[in-house]
């Protein structure tokens, strides 16, 4: 069932131009149509400046769309406090997203009090249960954000978002700034919480490996447009857009491979102030032809959708196959077993 439905959503930012020129208009999002189902994880991937965060902020009610519709549970999306109860957001920077003058307890109970979600007497218990949901000890409630590590802060941000029992949490690069081992901790936590509460996640990321691991569906963005969208396994196994292929090829795998098929992109993302005509990716696309420069490629209406004139003529895709060495696998297996034994002894950090 669809939880969030965006139709033909666009967002323009007006920039101050030169003193005499007309104001510049930056089209950050161009005709976005997207659905998030209840309880699923939709990943939004793309490189910096592609508009993925802008989209996340619009969904969370922090930006207003210039045009288009947004529906939550089949009804036009509400604003302000009502939206906040349905959709929450966790930001990238765990050092900037928590008010430094408030204790962890105050930060997490603030939304509960604001939305009047629990009687006053029940609030300490609710705080403890939220802290334990994100894997933190109750004592953390008395600490200030600056006393916590990046991973702990991100857990606090998550607990604050979960406090209103939202139906959707936007994770705006929520793990990108963390150490790899902490990234894995938080990603595991997100999956665990989703299993427990059924919350849907809009997982915004510039890296593909984690996305492949935790998302159910994935939408790839380039210069404000969604160029490919579909079930994660299908998109990774047989990407239909040259840009998706380039992103997958550029992802580094943690195994030395003598020869790896590499499709390298040249150049950089064009300025969104003067996007190329037709398909915006054509300036970097190895498959571009005349039609790509004249007409915008339409989205096809398949479950694994793509917006590319050449998607049917692309060369066969050879997925990178990872076969970890036997000794490494055996060692990881030992580690996993030992870690599982430890986990039963102590689950809180």
């Amino acid at each position: 069932m669809s939880l969030l439905h965006l139709t033909h959503l666009s967002k323009d930012f007006r920039l101050k131009g030169s003193a005499f020129g007309k104001p510049l208009v930056l089209r950050a999002l161009d005709d976005i149509t997207l659905t998030i189902h209840k309880g699923e994880t939709l990943a939004l991937v793309g490189e910096s400046g592609c508009g993925k965060s802008t989209l996340g902020w619009i969904v969370a009610g922090l930006h207003k769309a210039t045009s288009g519709q947004m529906q939550v549970n089949g009804q036009t999306a509400q604003t302000g406090k009502a939206r906040a109860r349905q959709i929450q957001i966790v930001f990238q920077d765990p050092f900037g997203s928590l008010n430094p003058t408030m204790t962890v307890g105050a930060l997490i109970t603030e939304p509960i009090l604001l939305h009047d979600l629990a009687p006053r007497a029940a609030i300490p218990a609710r705080l403890d249960s939220l802290l334990s949901l994100v894997g933190l000890r109750p004592e953390i409630g008395r600490r200030y954000p600056h006393e916590l590590s990046g991973g702990q802060r991100q857990r606090v941000a998550l607990a604050r978002a979960l406090a209103v029992e939202p139906e959707l949490i936007v994770c705006d690069e929520a793990v990108s700034a963390l150490d790899v081992s902490v990234q894995a901790q938080i990603a595991n936590l997100l999956q665990e919480i989703q299993a427990k509460t059924g919350v849907a996640l809009l997982f915004i990321s510039h890296g593909l490996s984690l996305v492949r691991h935790i998302s159910h569906r994935v939408a790839v963005m380039y210069l404000g447009r969604i160029v490919e969208e579909g079930p994660t396994e299908q998109v990774f196994a047989s990407p239909r857009h040259p840009y998706t292929r380039a992103l997958i090829a550029a992802t580094l795998e943690p195994l030395p491979a003598a020869s790896r098929p590499r499709m390298k992109l040249t150049g950089e993302v064009p300025s969104p102030l003067a996007p190329p005509s037709g398909c915006t990716f054509r300036t970097r696309c190895p498959q571009a032809q005349a039609i790509c420069a004249t007409d915008k490629p339409p989205h096809d209406a398949k479950p694994h959708a793509v917006a590319c004139w050449r998607s049917d003529d692309l060369p066969a895709f050879v997925p990178t196959t990872l076969t970890p060495p036997a000794r490494m696998l055996a060692a990881l297996q030992l580690y996993r077993a030992a870690a599982a034994r430890r986990a039963t002894e102590d689950t809180l950090t």
């Binding site: 922090l62 302000g80 109860r85 930001f91 900037g96 008010n99 430094p100 003058t101 600056h146 604050r160």
Partner: protein, 284 residues
């Protein structure tokens, strides 16, 4: 990735480092002493600040009057204590009024970007008047009196506080926690206080402390120019002005009043500097 080089930051609270700065501690002590003496003036002196004794006029220090008497034969120490009371009161009320107004304008300008242009142009207009001229015109329009003095002092310190507040608030506005507060649905007034002000206040407080000195000076200046409270009200600027006529035969009148003004203003400046240094060190 941060490495061990970045130590965890301290909370944004005014640090106890003030204690390590002896000048600032001295200034704070002096201010407290003056303020307490002014507040408890009736307990410290048995003289009436308004009862004239023409036979004892312009006596030098000593003879039962610790600081001598003024041209009306009133006890100088008493006059100074009551004068400091008035001047500090005008400074306090004026600065409080200015800080409240300026702080609100600055925070709102940073928070509501659409109001920024209008609010800050308004501040610029006020800033372009010399404060003395401002006080003069207000006194002329409203007539000399406590209200117009406080209004004049407040309006003259307001623009600076507004600008500092806006700057401090703008840098806080770039932090994600403001958006995080918005995202949980907080109303604007709570974002403005608990999120914006709570994090932007240290530089505002520092500047306000410095502005306090200016406010006292302006209050005294207006009094000296005769635009303050009218005689016989004891007011430090007024006392200094009264003594001017007898500067050669009784220099203690003007000197004592001027020294007291000097001490108060200097103390506020030292205190403000110390706060700013502490803030700078914290920022490192």
């Amino acid at each position: 990735m941060s490495d061990t080089l970045t130590l965890p930051r301290r909370p944004r609270r005014l640090p106890p480092r003030l204690r390590r700065n002896p000048m600032a501690a001295l200034a704070l002590g002096l201010l407290l002493a003056i303020a307490l003496a002014a507040i408890f003036a009736p307990l410290l002196t048995s003289f009436d600040p308004y009862e004239t004794a023409l036979r004892q006029r312009l006596q030098g220090p000593g003879n039962g009057h610790l600081l001598g008497t003024d041209s009306q034969g009133r006890d100088m120490l008493t006059r100074l204590l009551y004068g400091a009371r008035t001047t500090l009161m005008i400074g306090c009320a004026g600065t409080a009024f200015g800080a409240l107004l300026g702080g609100s304008i600055g925070l709102c300008a940073a928070f509501y970007r659409k109001l920024d242009g209008v609010l800050m142009r308004l501040v610029d207009v006020l800033l372009s008047f010399p404060s003395i001229l401002f006080g003069l015109s207000l006194a002329a329009i409203l007539g000399p009196g406590l209200d117009s003095l406080i209004l004049a002092v407040g309006l003259s310190v307001m623009p600076g506080i507004a600008r500092i507040s806006r700057g401090a608030a703008l840098s806080v506005m770039t932090q994600d926690y403001i958006e995080s507060g918005r995202a949980i649905g907080l109303p604007d007034h709570r974002l403005l206080t608990r999120y914006l002000l709570a994090n932007a206040y240290p530089p505002i407080l520092t500047y306000t402390t410095l502005a306090f000195g200016d406010a006292i000076l302006l209050a005294a200046t207006l009094g000296f120019l005769g635009l303050g409270l009218q005689p016989p009200t004891a007011e430090l600027g007024g006392i200094a002005a009264e003594g001017r006529a007898f500067l050669f035969i009784a220099p203690h009148v003007s000197t004592a009043a001027s020294l007291l003004i000097f001490a108060i203003v200097l103390s506020f400046n030292l205190l403000g500097d110390a706060l700013r240094d502490a803030g700078d060190r914290r920022a490192q």
